[in-house]
Symmetry: C2
Subunit: 374 residues, 2 copies
DNA sequence: GCGTTCGATTTGAACGTTCAACCTGAGTGG
DNA sequence: CCACTCAGGTTGAACGTTCAAATCGAACGC
């Protein structure tokens, strides 16, 4: 605006490779190599260059890099815009972990949303054609999923949170070992003294649901307490679901417990129990799956998925694909962990309260660590 | 693969501007103009060019555009990675709507996550310096928010979901009229025949909380049924919160109703009521705020924010900034809507169920079935 | 008839980076 | 001594687009 020194270019803009090169008295390419091929440059020059990079606060322009390399440095992830959100959507937490992991690997996450079932393909085309993304992260995979096939056919890099069922050759996926999670839940309940152990799940046919049920079957069988009658698959309709759950609760009886395929199911049970004056934990044990906000808020023991680890692993497959580190020979199953809360605690503080005011939660509720027992 | 016509370049790669120009027998720039300055090109040529664009399935390379224009075509949005997620995070739904709106305006949404309170600034710097984003969408604004000031100082375009309190000059924000939403809730309850109407809110001092409370005050006052005693601010500690809610429920009494500043608060009330054998809707009306998955799942009437509209409006400010359409002279408040469900329905199906527990009008008297005197 | 304006289109250059090829000098082996 | 390699470094060119300026006719005003 006012006084200006006409000597040097007086723009307040960002430093470029050339600026750094000039300052460090080396060539563009050497600066570039310091960043991308550190082995190719002598320690002395590297230090000099790095000094100037810091001093000038240089950051490579990713648009330029992307243009030259013909390759974006972002990954697309689909948010399901299909109307109603699922209860305590696990996907939201995964997105956060993915974003965190992406920063560590110098990648970025770009969201896109589709309404229709087949639409993701056209969205893939758009994002790839405009060179906004170089690959994708899939979630909610299912049988007969058209996405992996398309991506493979077009040689688009991708990874999947959830097994890719239809293509055994594709191994860049990671998933949670749901069966193991449920089995851990069963063992936890038994260790706490609950018996028998019932199961509340989804209709057979879905891979995830079948997997989780198998955990209940195998764990109870191993412990010699399996009873096929102690399971229930509540229908979609909420009142009908409540009735089904009520029936299961009766069959299990006081002192027993129920493991559920999801926190949502567990919460239906939670509600039904309270309606009947039964106290979760004290009277009947209850375990959910996913460790949603719900569970944290209301003291529901739940099976927690290691989302951060999964996100990190998946991204390594994608970003490491060039650096030689490739996907493993088979998909990876991560072992979830049971997070114990009041709903599986016989000595729940509910009992300590004056009986005329059965209380929803315990004093340690807002704190994550239980600490006082053990 | 095998036979090749050496005449033309036989790469199977994407068509570029030049490819289209060659095919349509015009210059690069004309093709570019067809896309970006449709007014500058004659209808005849435009048609010819568009035909070739379709035929060759041309999509502009956004990396190249971004490089030349010195401006990214994506917006950053912060996901709060700070440990525990809030219950039924409204932000997740907003992100979906934002993503949808972005596609319509040829923008993209890039997520980033920060752990620390002040860290967003450094993340802003990184994303801007690398030219990944051209601006930001803020959420969860608060008093003494350092972000708007920094962004303004650095002339970075941004919009905000939530009023920007500290800077009256900044008007590119949109928010929900919480007071109006609560007032609508009050009127809905009264229309359904509930009285009196209590309020369950947050401690005074937060702008959002004060706004919502004021809706209750004004609506009840207008209807001549205001009673300052019928409000409660439950403490963080959950058991204490439950006690406070219980007290409020007693003061309101059967036939009355409670509007809550959030679904989370409503759900605490929901739990307490069921613990006491009261049926939401049938005995006491209950309204939440945010229309989370919770509310949908459990039949809680709730105040729904018009997130899609807000997202679209905000993006218009950002993308339209160049096309002349600027932000309004003041921030915009959107009117939310009450979504009626069972919790405000006197004739709720709950009534049809056998009342397993007697309604406890006398809290000290009846007890639940545990009956043990520890 | 001639300078002027204007619409429509073209051309050269540039955005900032990395690829591919090239250069240089010192060390190596015979 | 010569051919060769090799580490370290440089240079021209290119990625695909848009900006800024130039070109070209045709229409216009006087």
């Amino acid at each position: 605006m006012t006084g200006r020194t006409t000597v040097s270019r007086e723009r307040a803009e960002r430093a470029t490779l050339v600026d750094v090169a000039l300052a460090a008295q080396v060539s563009r390419q050497t600066v570039s190599n310091v960043l991308n091929n550190p082995g190719k440059v002598s320690p002395a020059t590297a230090a000099k260059v790095r000094f100037e990079i810091d001093r000038l606060n240089f950051r490579p322009n990713l648009a330029a890099r992307s243009l030259r390399q013909r390759k974006a440095n972002a990954l697309g992830i689909e948010l399901n815009a299909t109307g109603r959100h699922r209860l305590g959507n696990i996907q939201d937490s995964f997105l956060v972990e993915l974003t965190v992991a992406a920063r560590e690997q110098d990648a970025h996450i770009i969201t896109f949303a589709v309404e229709d079932y087949l639409e993701p393909i056209s969205e893939y085309e758009r994002l790839l054609a405009t060179q906004m993304v170089s690959g994708f992260v899939l979630t909610n995979t299912r049988h007969d999923d058209p996405r992996p096939a398309w991506l493979r056919a077009h040689e688009v890099p991708f990874v999947s949170f959830g097994q890719v069922w239809d293509d055994p050759a594709f191994t860049a996926w990671a998933d949670v070992d749901g069966g193991s999670g449920i089995a851990q839940g069963v063992r936890h309940l038994v260790a706490q003294g609950y018996a028998p152990i019932g199961y509340l799940g989804w209709p057979p046919g879905s891979p995830v649901g079948d997997d989780r049920r198998s955990g209940w079957v195998s764990a109870t069988t191993d412990l010699g307490i399996h009873d096929p009658a102690l399971q229930e698959v509540p229908p979609q309709d909420l009142p009908a679901a409540a009735a089904a759950v009520r029936s299961l609760l009766e069959r299990v009886g006081n002192g027993g417990a129920i493991v559920c395929a999801s926190d949502t199911l567990a919460f239906i049970a939670f509600q039904v129990m309270r309606d009947q004056g039964q106290r979760p934990g004290t009277d009947i044990g209850l375990i959910g799956f996913d460790d949603t906000d719900f569970a944290q808020e209301f003291g529901l023991t739940s099976v927690q998925q290691p989302l951060a680890e999964i996100a990190q692993t998946l991204l390594t497959y994608l970003t490491g694909a060039e650096s030689g580190a490739v996907a493993p020979s088979r998909g990876v199953l991560f072992d979830p962990a049971v997070i114990p809360r009041r709903s599986t605690d016989h000595r729940s503080t509910d009992r300590a309260r004056p009986a005329h005011k059965p209380v929803t939660t315990d004093p340690a509720g807002s704190r994550t660590q239980d600490g006082d027992s053990s």
